[in-house]
């Protein structure tokens, strides 16, 4: 019995891992109620842990869970609604779900529709990535809160509010039509990239929850690629994440010190990830005009050539950032463009570009701006100005490894005669 219990638990966990999001999406697509689908599914998992040790693990655990969850949803709906219309609505819902659970081997995959609902413009942008983590991957509010560095109570409340809005406002679980797909897809990709970036921003890899987020971001990227294989930006985003993740370990040396991209040991880059990214980027560019993610992935590709040629393709990087700067108007992109321009045309050209965004109030508190400025000033020999810029950068940095790196660079200023 204890053994059976263990086996049942293992089986339930395996199903949860593989198909949690699929089951939530299937149920929610039919009721419009994400929270209700999650509740019903969690009840179904609890019921499985009681039933399976006694009656054995069913042949199709997914179908069993779906049937149990469906019953819970119908019970809940009966309690909430009454009247003829409700009865008719319920009957239709039951019939459709019955039909689906008969061929459980082919439970329709509504995860993409669920992602579009989670990234709907009617929801606050900040809650979209957490919602996807919860509904598609089954993360609990506490895990999401710790990854996004906010209190679990606040996160739980915001998730509940967002799911209420989906239900009450009637946000549909559907993949948008062709004419509005690209606008709406942006929000989905942005949320996935935010998930990846949260994990990526823990370079020491000490916080396993956040490191996992980078992997989950890639997993979601692969999922969207499998569901929308012809969308260039979807391929571009997955490529971008793979390029970045390929360099994960190279960002720190054996002593745990920060290693800037240009000085990373390319032997530590994951070659197979880079190759996969290159292939994705090639198929993406076959699709015509390039969007933001393709352009950013192309920048990564131009950095990745260093493993073959010994030097990043700075001319290509400068061009790509120029296009990106035009498309986004982002001063952050201009900083990157300035660094690339300095590699191609010398530090004065880079500084001239930095001057064009110097008036931006946000940049006054943006570490990379001051670090880029300091590096370029040092190269022009303006030690005093470089020293001042390094001080600003150091004061704004929160990562101790990067801070040490900047302090070291600042120290080197005084050693080299101008």
């Amino acid at each position: 019995m204890a053994r059976d219990g263990e086996q049942a638990r293992a089986a339930a966990e395996a199903v949860a891992r593989q198909s949690y999001g699929k089951l939530v999406a299937f149920l929610a697509a039919r009721t419009g109620d994400v929270a209700g689908a999650e509740d019903a599914l969690s009840d179904a998992f609890a019921a499985a842990l009681v039933d399976w040790p006694q009656n054995g693990i069913p042949q199709s655990p997914q179908a069993w869970l779906l049937t149990a969850a469906r019953r819970k949803i119908i019970d809940a709906a009966r309690r909430r609604r009454s009247g003829e219309a409700a009865a008719g609505h319920l009957r239709l819902m039951v019939e459709e779900m019955e039909a689906a659970s008969v061929n459980a081997g082919s439970i329709p995959d509504n995860r993409l529709a669920l992602m579009f609902a989670c990234a709907h413009p009617a929801l606050d942008p900040g809650i979209r990535a957490p919602l996807i983590l919860q509904t598609i991957l089954g993360f609990d509010a506490a895990a999401i809160a710790s990854a996004f560095l906010i209190s679990p109570a606040t996160m739980a409340q915001r998730l509940v509010r967002a799911k209420n809005k989906i239900r009450q406002a009637g946000i549909p679980l559907r993949v948008p039509e062709r004419d509005e797909l690209s606008d709406r897809l942006d929000a989905v990709l942005e949320a996935i990239y935010a998930i990846f970036a949260e994990g990526w921003s823990d370079p020491d890899g000490t916080d396993s929850r956040r490191r996992n987020l980078a992997e989950e971001g890639i997993w979601l990227g692969r999922l969207v690629v499998s569901l929308l294989p012809d969308e260039p930006e979807v391929l571009g985003l997955l490529a971008l994440m793979l390029y970045a993740d390929a360099r994960r370990v190279a960002r720190r040396n054996a002593q745990g010190d920060y290693v800037p991209l240009a000085e990373q040991d390319t032997g530590q880059w994951d070659a197979s990830m880079i190759e996969e990214a290159e292939a994705l980027l090639r198929s993406a560019s076959a699709g015509g005009e390039s969007g933001r993610y393709q352009l950013e992935a192309a920048v990564q590709s131009a950095h990745a050539v260093r493993r073959l040629t010994g030097r990043s393709d700075w001319a290509a990087i400068e061009q790509l950032y120029e296009i990106l700067a035009r498309a986004t108007g982002s001063p952050v992109v201009t900083i990157n463009r300035a660094v690339a321009a300095a590699e191609v045309h010398g530090p004065a050209a880079g500084l001239a570009l930095l001057d064009t965004v110097a008036g931006d109030a946000l940049l006054a508190e943006y570490q990379p701006y001051w670090a880029a400025r300091a590096g370029l000033l040092a190269r022009t020999g303006d030690v005093a100005a470089a020293d001042e810029a390094y001080e600003r950068a150091i004061g704004l940095e929160s990562d101790p490894a990067v801070r040490r790196f900047l302090q070291q660079r600042r120290g080197e200023l005084k050693q080299t005669p101008a």
Partner: protein
């Protein structure tokens, strides 16, 4: 699902509009209402007189207090509404975007609470 489209606009701007502009706006609303009728989505809708004609009532301690003017003195005021019955929020938002009021003010989309 039923939604109410609440049309807010700058009243001063509307009152300052030329006769031609006002006529054009009325014609646009006429066509919009007709389109909603043809699509079978409209459940109701009215235009409101300007907020200068509004009176606000509040009952406190059993006494009703009557105030001249709208509930909130904002530049953009509720000028009218439509109620529609459509499958989901996306469809409601599509109709809201077609509303002439969305081009000179804002249209708030709210689901009705089913009774």
């Amino acid at each position: 699902m039923q939604y109410m489209l609440l049309i807010y606009s700058n009243e001063a701007g509307m009152q300052a509009a030329s006769k031609t502009d006002a006529e054009q706006m009325m014609a646009a609303y006429g066509a919009y209402g007709e389109a909603m009728k043809k699509a079978g989505v409209i459940r109701g809708g009215e235009r409101l007189r300007p907020s200068a004609s509004a009176t606000t009532v509040r009952v406190a301690d059993g006494k009703s207090k009557v105030l001249n003017g709208p509930y909130a003195e904002t530049k953009e005021q509720l000028g009218g509404y439509f109620t529609i019955d459509v499958p989901d929020l996306d469809t409601a938002l599509t109709w809201a975007a077609r509303c002439p009021g969305a081009s000179h003010g804002v249209v708030e989309v709210r689901p009705l609470w089913p009774m």
